[in-house]
């Protein structure tokens, strides 16, 4: 019985992240439109888009190999696994032992690798340029991400997400500049990884500096639906990561009563909505960067994360 309950807990989280992902993306699009004084599509539009793409005819290039056909499913599956592992409403679920920060980074790396391969598979110039830029961004964002992991590991003594969230909820860690810097760096990394402004523009196919959209330009039909869904889940993944690491309040930790779980669930949904509203406001207030400025943007994320590690050494000693 206990095992069934635990399994149900994990299943709820697994289904939840996929179920709300298009909604969260829809909210960001709606808020973005309102900030820009447009009406914007309905909040549920992303669901309709994915549904429509599922039923559309799929066009394949003649020279497309199996990589091109497998990649969308692989990307979606890997992103889903990563998102399902990040604690959302409750810590210490059935699979929480495997929800390590480094595992999440590795899973995201796998998804990115598959998508970059698919971008180059058909051999168009646009896909190639997208893949090469995606790899450049990844090579800049990943060191920053690993330094963030180090910072959190130094504060919490573990890289297991569930344990970190439980620790931050239950024990006061105080006002730490390091954690603030890590949050700043994580936001920069999340913006870069999710192809948002100022790094990339998710709303257009018509820009020469685009990255993510250039890679998936050849896709259509249900392949494109998979990729769009994966992008939405990835956004939720990073939101959940920020919420779980830096505002884990409300999460059910030790107490497993129904009310605690309900509070955790509501808190999680509230946090997601707030983040989904903050992202487009931030996006609307900055201009898209030139490609040559990416290293500076992500370099400052790296610098912030490195500084966070240094500061921890001063206050703790070696």
């Amino acid at each position: 019985m206990a095992l069934i309950l635990e399994f149900a807990g994990q299943a709820v989280q697994t289904v939840l992240v996929v179920a709300i992902a298009p909604l969260i993306l829809g909210i960001t699009r709606k808020v973005k439109a309102r900030v820009l004084r447009r009406i914007g599509p309905p909040v549920l539009q992303t669901y309709f888009d994915i549904w429509k793409l599922m039923h559309k005819e799929m066009v394949l290039a003649h020279n497309a190999s199996w990589i091109y056909r497998v990649a969308p499913y692989l990307v979606f599956a890997v992103t889903w696994v990563a998102a399902a592992l990040v604690p959302t409403y409750c810590t210490d679920l059935l699979f929480s032992w495997s929800a390590d920060l480094i595992v999440i980074v590795a899973l995201m790396g796998t998804a990115r690798f598959a998508l970059a391969l698919a971008g180059m598979d058909v051999g168009t110039a646009f896909g190639g340029i997208g893949s090469s830029r995606e790899m450049m961004i990844a090579s800049l964002a990943e060191p920053a991400m690993l330094l963030i992991v180090f910072t959190l590991a130094l504060v919490a003594g573990t890289t297991q997400l569930s344990a970190i969230a439980a620790l931050f909820t239950n024990t006061p860690v105080g006002l730490r500049v390091s954690l603030g810097l890590a949050l700043l760096a994580l936001i920069c990394v999340a913006i870069a990884e999710n192809a948002r402004i100022p790094i990339d523009n998710p709303a257009t196919h018509l820009e020469l500096t685009m990255v993510h959209e250039a890679m998936v330009l050849e896709y259509s039909g249900r392949h494109l639906a998979m990729i769009e869904a994966a992008a939405a889940v990835k956004l939720v993944l990073y939101f959940s990561l920020i919420a779980c690491l830096f505002v884990p309040f409300g999460m059910a930790t030790e107490e497993r009563s129904l009310s605690a779980l309900a509070v955790g669930l509501l808190a999680y949904l509230a946090k997601m909505t707030v983040l989904a509203a903050l992202l487009p406001i931030g996006e609307a207030s900055v201009a898209k960067m030139r490609v040559f400025r990416y290293p500076i943007f992500l370099g400052s994320a790296f610098a912030a994360a490195a500084l966070a590690v240094f500061l921890l050494f001063v206050s703790r000693g070696f």
Binding site: R176, V177, A303, L307, V314, F318
Partner: protein
């Protein structure tokens, strides 16, 4: 000292260090001036908090000097100078974001490594490490920038670091602080005059032209 008190000290001096790095990162001159003003305000807060903790009323004077002179007067004057020189739209090209930031980080690490072996208490040690890092970053800024105005700001941020170090360790006499503040003001005036002289002669405040200048019969005649 309670944990909250310590946390606030940590937060404010850490904030100063972050602002120092931000100074290195900014390329537009008005933005640099604004970040400098912010750093001075954080310094004033930090000093005021130390005054409360150490029960030392003379530190309040130091905080007030930092707030009024460096947080308001100097940035205001710098904004005026920048506007009169018509360089407020200029972007400094020399700032090699990556290498400069990496050097800056290396300097922070150096400061921490230097202070680490000292026997002082953890609060003093942390404060000294932050202050030393701010000073080194100010020096780095003076080296890497080519514009005279941003070099002046680098110099001023060194002084911010000095005040931070002095207030963290107990007992800097007020006389010293006032004289330092005055010398900063005088230095600022002298710098201002110099900036305008450079501008008058070379039509730019980029100091690399001064390097090439070889007396009145040189290339700029």
């Amino acid at each position: 000292m309670g944990t909250l008190a310590f946390d606030i000290v940590h937060f404010l001096s850490g904030g100063m260090l972050v602002l120092s790095l931000l100074l290195l990162y900014q390329a537009r001159i008005p933005a640099v001036v604004n970040v400098f003003a912010m750093q001075a305000i954080v310094l004033a807060l930090s000093v005021a908090w130390q005054a409360y903790l150490q029960n030392a009323p003379h530190l309040i004077v130091t905080a007030a000097i930092a707030l009024v002179v460096k947080g308001l007067v100097i940035p205001f004057a710098l904004h005026r100078i920048v506007r009169r020189l018509e360089i407020h739209r200029e972007i400094e090209t020399v700032i090699g974001g990556g290498p400069t930031m990496l050097t800056g980080l290396a300097l922070v690490a150096l400061a921490i490594l230097l202070v680490q072996p000292s026997e002082a208490g953890i609060v003093t040690r942390e404060d000294l490490a932050f202050a030393l890092a701010v000073i080194l970053l100010g020096l780095l800024m003076m080296i890497t920038r080519r514009n005279a105005v941003t070099q002046v700001i680098g110099f001023m941020s060194i002084e911010n670091g000095l005040v931070l170090a002095a207030t963290g360790a107990k007992g800097m006499p007020l006389v010293v602080e006032i004289s330092v503040a005055f010398s900063i003001l005088i230095a600022f005036t002298v710098f201002g005059v110099f900036v305008f002289r450079i501008r008058e002669r070379f039509d730019t405040v980029d100091v690399t032209v001064v390097d090439r200048f070889r007396g009145e019969r040189g290339e700029h005649q």
